[in-house]
Symmetry: D2
Subunit: 306 residues, 4 copies
């Protein structure tokens, strides 16, 4: 499978840390091998779940190198080059190219805003600086901009972007994007990031999903994809219902929120599943501890993952 026809489940890989918050490469390898073994169709590294916002350039390079070395061509690897504005993104583009990734993912520029022309110029500048396929990452909760269907289709039909990772939560817009994409000959590969309603995105003709929860239960997302491929909608739905219950690992905790509850919940589950050694979080986020760990465990047990 190449980026040009990429489809299926592409989990946004989380980053295990040692107690001292250095990169736990050993656990990372176990985790990535588990993902590959599950049959996922690609890996998205250095996304929001992949601690891109917390990672220095050096840390990003560690993750890039480890991933490419472990994967060794078995799957396409898409790398986030997320940063505030263009020049900083371009630095990450060069690093990702040097590491040999298969495609890039960039958000709209953030921190300083300036209208949709500026967003468009940003994607054009990135695309002009690389030969790699570029995905637009639509994540308004982080960058305060929703990428409109018209802009995405314009960039897609002109070959500026190769696809979209949609984490907007706007399923109406996603449906319309999918239809516009179909009408234009499918220039864009469309992936949803909403792990709780992937089934709805498949009804909307998504090319695949980028489920954060896929770090915890990749098998289920692969089974769901296979059911979709064979037209078994009851299967698609049943897997989703179970995964929606599993997703409560990010809501059962108290006293943590946002990234700490979300990625913290994933890491805690993976530690309980003996995939990674610790659920340590990057500064300034607190790890999940005590009763909150037990709460996560109960959710895992409720869906028979533990």
């Amino acid at each position: 499978m190449t980026i040009a026809n990429l489809s299926g489940v592409v989990p946004p890989v989380i980053v295990p840390l040692n107690e001292d918050r250095t990169f736990d490469r050993a656990s990372y390898e176990v985790h990535v091998e588990r993902l590959i073994a599950s049959g996922v169709h690609g890996l998205f590294i250095l996304g929001s779940s992949g601690e891109v916002a917390f990672s220095t350039r050096e840390r990003r390079q560690e993750i890039l190198e480890a991933t490419m070395s472990i994967v060794n061509g078995r799957l396409p690897v898409i790398a986030g080059v997320v940063d505030m504005q263009t020049e900083r993104v371009l630095e990450h583009v060069r690093d990702a190219e040097a590491a040999g990734v298969d495609a890039l993912v960039a958000t709209a520029p953030f921190y300083a805003l300036g209208g949709m022309e500026v967003v468009e110029a940003h994607f054009r500048a990135i695309a002009a600086a690389t030969d790699l396929p570029l995905f637009a990452y639509d994540i308004p909760v982080c960058v305060n901009v929703k990428l409109p269907v018209d802009l995405l289709m314009k960039l897609g039909t002109e070959g500026v972007i190769a696809g979209v990772k949609d984490s907007s939560g706007d399923d109406v817009s996603f449906r319309w994007l999918a239809q516009a994409n179909e009408d234009a000959g499918h220039p864009l590969r469309l992936f949803t990031g909403h792990e709780v309603v992937v089934d709805g995105a498949y009804l909307s003709s998504a090319d695949g999903s980028v489920p954060g929860l896929g770090n915890v239960d990749p098998d289920a997302y692969v089974r769901q994809w296979d059911a979709f491929q064979r037209g078994d909608w009851n299967g698609v739905r049943a897997e989703q219902d179970r995964l929606a219950r599993l997703m409560h690992i990010v809501t059962v905790t108290s006293g943590v929120s946002g990234f700490g509850a979300g990625i913290g919940g994933f890491k805690t589950a993976l530690q309980l599943l003996n995939v990674i050694k610790t659920n340590q979080m990057p500064l300034p986020v607190a790890r999940i501890e005590g009763d909150n760990v037990e709460a996560v465990r109960s959710v895992l047990e409720s869906v028979k993952l533990l």
Copy 2:
């Protein structure tokens, strides 16, 4: 069918106006009869689409009386009692009861906010003042409050509310609400208001839909519901894809927005379909005119409604 087991398609009925902005009862009757003939399972009047925010108490009474007279018991009628705060809502409750509706729909209080305890007290005060079943209308875009799953389930299991009309656009929350509702023995009837992704809501086990676009093409939503009932997901999806295209009647216009583009688009379509006499809008909203009418016509033609 009673409210206690209400399911299926319950369109939020729009309100045709004469040129002078009085209530066009004749067109309303044609419109309601067309809806009933299509096989919809209930009617939701005085919702956001039903101009509740624009209607004086007298106008609301006109709509209530016309509806009950036309429907004459053939279908359950659910009436919005939307207003800013409790006492004003209670006035509408008494009017709706007097008209003989089957159930009520209220939003969270708005304009002045005050925390979730206040929202809960609002629904409890309304329920205490009526014997009619009460639906909670979750529409944060209008009232700046998202009704949380926990509150809805608490109110549902205690019998304060009988159901939810979800126009939140938060499909993750809706999935979790549906699962919590199932776990609790299904105390709530759950309807989605998102006409572009009703298929996703059916995957999430919605009891039905309240699609504004159902004013324009009720047959399609009924066909979609029937497909859902017989497990024909490809049928559900195909109807949705067509309806998503039809929904562009609210996006193809320029120079209008929000209610003017949305309900204005529905009314314009209904005028073009010869269901209602004018596409007149309530003050202060401008009606759709000129090229915008032609744009709506093109969309209708593209899906063979015209």
Copy 3:
């Protein structure tokens, strides 16, 4: 003083309730007489502080009639005609006219939104329906629309509106509005609703203030105005510093928020000051009780009001 040259302190009068939530006219009279005795320059009734969102048409009429009877021409009375959309506002306009008020205050339409053309049409429709001067109430936190300087100046120079009550919290916009107003020959009377930074608004050449906290300590706002009139900026500032401390009656409570903490704090202070009989709040808002009352008392004592 007439509306055309209205300036000074115009408190937004709160509404005392009996225990059973009926209108406590006796306390209202004591409260209004206390305001008048302090030397305030006008009264703004049925504003956000004046429970306009909670009041049925009948309650609004009670408040209108009581106010006009008590004031009896001693001061200009400006009445809020706040409601969701135009026709409902026009009903209140007729009631306010019948009661004999001196001017009206309307917000942008809310609940259903539709762009700035719709907002403009709303103000034009109201002005066309009355001979009374109309103030625009800029309160985005309640109506989700910020009234832009350009629109306000257009409406002002054309005589559609006579003034602005600014509760936007956007002091930059207010400064620019004041300058544009001055350049246009001062067609608009400009009042700030931000009781904690009235001194800054006076630096920006406001024509006066509409301080909710003026219900509790009208004398201080009048002293501040007098200091402003004689150019005593240190006096203006000193009064503001004390009033900013007094304003903590709305922040020292816990478990209440928004309207309940704000107007609840004002009512509790007025009850402690023996101006009104109860601090009862309208449904669905809980009154302030227990330790929270003592917390309000401590603030009053700290600034020597008690």
Copy 4:
């Protein structure tokens, strides 16, 4: 003057670029010397106006080194270390320390959010890693978090932060912060970033201002500060009124917005004033051109800067 008693005007220095978007050090020197000659009391580099979001680590180092070399101890230099999360900020801390700056400025973490405990941990982690005084930069429009008074005072009294640069636009909160700071013995140096209402912040007892517009007319802000120091409030106000008019250089342009209109307006003014060579903007922002330049020129002429 040291950081511990820093007060007065501390402009956030903009960054002139060459046509090819490299750093125009020559123009920067002219610009910084002009600022110093005006009598400003400190310089804030690498703030939002200082293109921190657009600058790679190398660019930041260029700016740090150029500034320290040009200033050469004549004024305190405060450097932004703005980045998404802690580890990335710490990298900038080390670079700023190496360059010899006098103090640091950090925002709340952004892109990934997680509650106020996480924000607190972020500031504590930064402070623990440096001996330099740390300012908290309150800029919710960029980072989606408003720093609450309680947290700032806690961090201030414990010596974690030395001051606050307030760009929140929340003047009520600023007043309360100033009072709480005074009550606690003034542990924090408080600066406002709102160049259009600095006079109001001085009424609220700000220790100074960080006005972006001070890049264009530093003399006026220094005159305003001097008027404040001698209690000449009419002088403070008159300077502010003129500066509010000058600030329209960021609003008279069309087709640009946000950073492009704001910093673009400042750069265009400085080019017209012959301070810097070009008004070039960093990628992906378009520079101001054509009629927009003339519009900026007209504003400069209207206040006699040209």
